[in-house]
Symmetry: C2
Subunit: 380 residues, 2 copies
Amino acid sequence: MEEATPVEAISVPPIARIGDPVGVVDTPSLVIDLDTFEDNLRKMQALVERHGVALRPHAKAHKCPDISLRQIALGAQGICCQKVSEAVPFVAAGVRDIHISNEIVGANKLALLARVAAKAKVTVCADHPRAVEALSAAMAESGACVGVVVDADVGQKRCGVQTPEQAVALAQLIQKLPGITFAGLQAYHGAMQHTRCASRRRKSSARVARLVRTYLRALSSAGIECPVVTGGGTGSAVFDVASGVFTEIQAGSYPFMDAHYASLEWGEEVSFGNSLYLLGTVMSTPTAERAVADVGLKSTSAESGAPRPLEQVGWSCVGISDEHTVLQAGHARDLPTLGAQVRLVPGHCDPTFNLHDSVIAIRGQVVEAIWPISARGLSR
Amino acid sequence: MEEATPVEAISVPPIARIGDPVGVVDTPSLVIDLDTFEDNLRKMQALVERHGVALRPHAKAHKCPDISLRQIALGAQGICCQKVSEAVPFVAAGVRDIHISNEIVGANKLALLARVAAKAKVTVCADHPRAVEALSAAMAESGACVGVVVDADVGQKRCGVQTPEQAVALAQLIQKLPGITFAGLQAYHGAMQHTRCASRRRKSSARVARLVRTYLRALSSAGIECPVVTGGGTGSAVFDVASGVFTEIQAGSYPFMDAHYASLEWGEEVSFGNSLYLLGTVMSTPTAERAVADVGLKSTSAESGAPRPLEQVGWSCVGISDEHTVLQAGHARDLPTLGAQVRLVPGHCDPTFNLHDSVIAIRGQVVEAIWPISARGLSR
C-alpha cells in the first residue's frame, strides 16, 4: 500500500456564501427560489385549512429540518419521516411530532426508535403481527411508547394489510400489547400521485376513500376508535382533502415540484410552482448545436427522466450520464456559451435532495440562506 | 418558527462494527465481498501487464481512497478523478498521481485545481481554446502547473474536440501558454462500455483505435510528441489493451461490477465477479408472493434498472421506489421471510457508491473493514 506522506490538508471550499450573487455559486448545486417556495407552502396550508384537514408534510422529500420548521410555523401539525434514522436530525432541530410512514423491522432500528420516541411524539406503521410484537417488546423493554398506525394497501401494491379484517386483528393486537397504542390508519397510494390526467387522479382518490371507509366501518364494528387517517400526496391532495376520510395529508413534494410533477395536468383549485432547480455550468461546447453541463446522475436523480430547463429556452436536455447533461439546440444561437450557468429542474425531487449536503436558498439573485440537508443519506 | 427546546442529542449508531457477523449489519448498506473484489483487482492488473499498458483506475466509480490505495499497491500508476473536488480526499489519503478525466471550467474550480496541483502530479482535460487560456491564467497566477490532456470525441458525442486539426491547434496553444504542459490525448467512449454483445464492443474498440491513430498522426505531423493516450473502460478493456494505441486504461467498475455489467456478454480472456451488493431487510410480506425490502432509490441508483438478487433465488425485484424494492416469488415457499436479509446487486455501481457514506468490506460472513466513501457528494 502506498505510504501516505503528510501534506497540508486541502479542504473543498463552501459551495456558496450568504449574500453571494447567484453567478458565483459553485456548481452543480441544488437551489430553491424562496419566493416560489414560500408561495407553495402557503397554498398547501390554505388548501388543507379550507377543508378542515391537518397537514403533516413529508420530510423524506427534502431531508432538511429548516424546511420542516417553516412548514410547522405556517400551521403544519408535525411531519412524516420514512425511516427511523431520518427522524433523528428533525428531533435535534426541535420537531416534536413525527409519523414514520413506514414499517420498521429489525433490532437496530427498533432500538433507535425507542430513543427517538423518548424525545418526541412518534407514530409508526405496521402491517404484520410479528412486527407489532417486536415493536411492543422493544418499546416495553426501554420504557418508551409509540403509537402504531395500521398501514393498509389501498392500491399501491407495496406494503400494508390487504383486508379490513387483517386491519382489525392488527389493531386488536396493538391495543393488547404494552409499549404501543393504536394510533390510526395509513392509506397512501403513491402510484396515483403520478397519474398524468387530473380526472383519473380524482377517480383514484375517490376509490381510495371508498376503500378507507370499508376499513373504518370494520374497525368501528369491532369497537375500535380510529383517531387518525393519514395519507395523500402532492398529486392527489386537492381531492384527498375533500374526500371526508383523511384527517391529515402527507404531501411532500409541493414546496418544490419537479419535472415529473410539472408534466402532470393540474386543476384550477391549486397549483404549485417549480421552486427547485439544479444550477450547472456549461463545461464544453463541442459542436454548434451541443453543449454539456456539469450536472449528472450524482447531482440529480434520473430514474424519472433527464432534467429539464427551468425556463423556456431554445435548448433541451437530450442525455444524462454520471457527471454530464448534454444540451442540444435547434439553432446555434440558442445554445448557452462556455462557462454560462444553466438552471435545470430535476426529474424527481426526493432522491435529488438526497444527493446534496445543502440546498442554497435564493431570493431574487442573491443567496439568502444555505440549509443543511441533515438527513441526507439517513436511509436506515 | 417552532422554538427548538434543547434535548440530549440522539446520534445514529454506526452501520456496522469491525468483527460483526454480517447478520447484525444495519440496512440498507453497501457491502463489498473482499475475496471477489481482490480477485477482480488482480485480474485487471494482470491483464494490463500482459499487454504492457498502464492501469489508471477511475475513482469516480467508488469515491473511496481505501480502494484506490489497494489498486496502486497492486501496480496501478495513479488514478482518475472526474471532478476537482473529488480529487481532494484522494490527495489527503496520499495519492500523488491524478488525471482529472473531464473539462474543468469556472473560477472556483480552477482555484481549487491549483491547490490540488501543488500537492500531486495532476493532469486535466480540455477541449476548447478559451478553457485552455483560463487554465493557464489560473495556474500561472498561483504558481502551479498542470498537464493538459486534449479530450477527443471518439464516438461518445459528449465533450471533446471533433477533429484531429482541432486537437493539433489546442496542443499548440497548450505548449505556448504558461502554467500548463501538453500531457497527451484522451479517447474515452463511455457508451460502448455498455454494448451487450462482446464482438460489437470489439468492433467499437477497433473503431476508436483507428480514430486515435488519425489524431496521433496529425499531432506527429505537427511535430508534437504525445506521451499518453488515456481511455478505455471495464467493458472494452480487454480490447483496448491490445489495440496498440492506449498507454493507460481508465476502467473503474471492474473491482465491483453491477447488474448492468453482469448483463453483458463477456469473452474468455477475463471476467470479473460481482463483489458489490446492497444488504437489505425484508420489512413487509403483505401477500404470499410479495415481499418488500428496505432498499430504495436513496440507497441504489435505478436509472439502469432495478437491482437484482446476488444469488440464484426463487424471487426477483419487480419494482423500486424511493425507499422500497418489491420482491416477487413464483411460489410462496421461495419468498424471503419478514426480517430476513437480502443481497441485491445495484443496477449501476458509480451513482450507488455516491449514495453511501461508507462501504462495508466483508470476508466470509464477518465485517473486516469499513471504508469511508470520502468523496461522496463531491461533484464540483
